[in-house]
């Protein structure tokens, strides 16, 4: 069995900064990430052809991440970076199981940092599973990495800054955008919003540049608007949009239809918590932070001693927060292993925590606008699919969610919602929000939708260690 003083799951900004910090103080680190390339979500957004040697190609909003990758190179000798490594389980006795090169392997760790990131928030409405409806992240991936336009006439619907980034990128790539719907109330808050979101997501200057591109292209940004339905035979042909009130509830009589062939949804991100849940860390629910988030100490340690959680996976707050949190966790691990002098680290920690507090204040602005409101989860109709893996419609779960005292767990047993191949990543957050809308107390622990290994699909051959070596 391999051993690691510090194992890190996730090679995004959070994981990398923890690694740099710890390795810089002499700790032996193993990073596991399922992707081919280092860098997590940020790196996936990069132009093709980018290498670590020409960071300028990334643009200013990635500069900080680039600085980090530079530092990473300096301490790389103490870091064992395992790409294509899918962590499928965390078990007692400090063990992680992962699949790589057709084999299942085990690492025994002393300390563990979970930096698993976040993904696009799923929102069910009539037509959301039609071909032609994609997530903002998915659209971004198409244009930036594969240089493919997702469609001819595109509607962007959602909330928050990622929409503007995507719009900018789409326009640059020559796309025709019908409109950008911002469901939140941004009135009179543009400046604050710019400072707020771009304080975390990049730099205010970039934000302004994006808005300018959008204006120049004549694309309307429609505030307090939502998409209520996507219509089409086989593929999106039309989107129905409507004005919403402050709770994001549709104002009747304001519906109108737009002829589009593509819809990009960007309702923010939800945390990937399957690993912290599997490790039996305590969680709390915070819809502004992207759903369930692990409870953490000031040094990012979870309720399980020696297990830390950082970055978007521990609360969606952007790459700058991920970087800072990773650094804090890295220092805490160094201290736990007795490799630090103490005084100096304490000072650094205090500085980082201050920085974090500032980021979180900025993030509040984003929260005020983008934290999901009840109306967002009232769009589903009887035939709307709630669980894509198991083809379960709203009609099937409606009588259950209205039952007194029902728990997510009961609904799962009765309908199979959450039992498909995504392990509840898609329908789990939907179900919780539907229950919350009905005034249901959401339990502190996400016990309703238990995670069981493997947390990501792994072939029987890999589990049996019988796969080919490639």
């Amino acid at each position: 069995m391999e051993k690691a003083e510090l194992a890190i799951i996730g090679g995004g900004p959070g994981g990398i900064s923890a690694a740099v910090e710890a390795a810089g103080s002499g700790v032996n680190v193993t990073i596991l990430d399922e992707n081919a390339r280092i860098g997590g979500q940020i790196f996936r957004q990069l132009e093709k052809g980018f290498t670590l040697t020409n960071p300028e190609a990334m643009g200013r909003d990635y500069q900080k991440s680039v600085d980090l990758f530079r530092q990473f190179k300096k301490v790389a000798s103490r870091i064992n970076y395992l790409n294509h490594a899918t962590v499928w389980g965390i078990f007692d006795d400090h063990r992680i199981a992962y699949g790589r090169n057709g084999k299942s392997k085990t690492i025994e760790y002393k300390n563990l940092v979970i930096a698993s990131g976040a993904y696009d928030r799923p929102v069910p409405f009539p037509g959301w599973t039609l071909p032609g409806v994609l997530t903002a992240g998915g659209a971004q991936n198409l244009v930036k990495n594969q240089r493919i336009l997702p469609g001819k006439k595109i509607l962007l619907a959602g909330t928050g800054p990622l929409q503007l980034v995507v719009a900018h990128q789409l326009i640059q790539a020559g796309a025709d955008i019908a409109a950008i719907l911002e469901v939140g109330d941004v009135k009179g808050m543009w400046l604050k919003l710019m400072q707020g979101m771009w304080g975390n997501w990049g730099y205010a200057g970039d934000g302004l540049r994006y808005v300018q591109t959008i204006h120049k292209a004549g694309v309307p940004i429609m505030q307090n608007h939502i998409i209520t339905r996507a219509n089409g035979n086989q593929h999106v042909e039309e989107a129905v949009i409507a004005r919403v009130d402050k709770d994001w509830r549709v104002i009747h009589g304001t519906q109108k239809s737009l002829k589009v062939d593509t819809v990009c949804l960007g309702y923010g991100l939800v945390t990937s918590t399957e690993l912290t849940r599997l490790a039996q860390c305590d969680h709390t629910y915070d819809s502004g932070l992207g759903g369930y988030v692990p409870v953490r100490s000031e040094t990012m340690e979870t309720s399980q001693k020696g297990i830390f959680a950082v970055g978007d996976g521990a609360g969606v707050a952007g790459s700058q927060v991920a970087l800072t949190e990773g650094q804090i966790a890295g220092i805490a691990v160094v201290q736990a292993l007795g490799r630090a002098s103490g005084a100096e680290q304490k000072k650094t920690l205090a500085g980082l925590q201050k920085k974090l507090a500032r980021h979180h204040r900025l993030r509040q602005v984003l929260d005020d606008i983008s934290r999901p409101r009840p109306g967002l989860y009232e769009l589903a109709e009887d035939e709307t699919i709630i669980c894509r893996c198991e083809d379960i419609t709203f009609k099937q779960i409606k009588p259950l969610i209205q039952k007194e005292g029902i728990k997510a767990k009961d609904i799962k047993r009765r309908t199979r919602v959450g039992m498909g191949s995504c392990g509840g990543r898609m329908c789990g957050p939907i179900l919780i929000e539907l229950l919350r809308n009905l005034g249901m107390q959401v339990s502190k622990q996400p016990d309703g939708l238990n995670v069981r290994p493997p947390v990501k699909p792994v072939s029987l051959g890999v589990l049996a260690g019988a796969g080919d070596n490639q």
Binding site: F91, D92, A97, E390, G405, K409, S421, P457, L463, A464
Partner: protein, 386 residues
Amino acid sequence: MFSQEAEVVVIGGGVVGSATAYFLAKENKNVVLIEKGHSAGEASGGNAAWVWSLTRKAGIDITLAMHSISIHQQLQAELELDFEYRASGGLMIMDAENQVPFVKEHLDQREKDGHPLEMVDAKQVLEIEPMLNRDRILGGVWNPVDGTTNPILLVASLNREAEKLGVQIHHHTEVKGIDVSQGRVKSVTTNRGTIKTDCVVNAAGSWAGHIGKMVGITVPVSPFQMAMLVTERIPRCIFHPIMGASYMVEEDTGKEGGLGSGLIASQQVSGNLLLGACWRDAGFDKRTIQEEIERIAIVNIEAMPSLKDIRVIRSFANFFPHTLDDLPILGPVEGVEGFIMASGHNGHGICLGPGSGKLVAELLCTGNTSVPIEELKLERSALSVE
């Protein structure tokens, strides 16, 4: 409204308690069913879903199984909501020489008992299940009456019909105590109130011992863990439940703290494969461990190498109510009048549950049972630890 009074209070909304409540209600008994979580929320909701009698031993074991299978058939005809019961036939495969004498002995005993089984050769095994590893198969046993069901739907269907017949079902309600005076049950206390009754059925599965304590008796039922894997949906490739004959040889492996494993494989109506199994004594822990997951994968890949690239989407473990002699505990208890046992259905409660429910209902309504259950009483010697 919480129930004040009942002729019978059934504790436990698993397959056993749900069947008991249904059959009692059919005989016009006034019944309250108490479940601390949700119906089929425990063993009856997470299992292999087999209705299986092939490995049941001659004697009361197979008698109960065959009786219960007839009740599954009856329920299929009379319950409104379909629960996907299919008597497809079941297959046991032999893939090691040491299994053969055990299997032959089993077939002999069953034949003598009037419940014969059919031995099939390797060629026939592969005709029944073409995906099996032809290099390993020595032969098998075929049993046409076996099959699979959907236990969650079965319980939902029993509950729905019982409610129509007037049964009050209280979910998320936990039995906290049972009042006994002068050797008779008087009432059942829950976290939501007390119900006056002179009859309680202990169908609390692995928790049967906790309920026993409430009336001052020891019920030797303990939770025993079994783990399985679920794969992604794939086109139909396993047509019947398949069990490895190692179960006939190493039945007790793992029951003393180690980790036992053996092949069980079937495919759900949805297309997901359900593969097992490992078992171990883990108390009330439902988590799966790495060794279990890897061991199950190995066992299944050996038997069906072509499954190598099929992806596992989840593992799960659950515990079943275990007794030392692998038989359920059914019927009245000495010294506590009105306290009826219906637990300890081990790894075959889905098969046995409907039958046990029927027998307990007969006992309470007529004083007799269509299958004699004297051998299954709590006081039998096979249950004492010595």
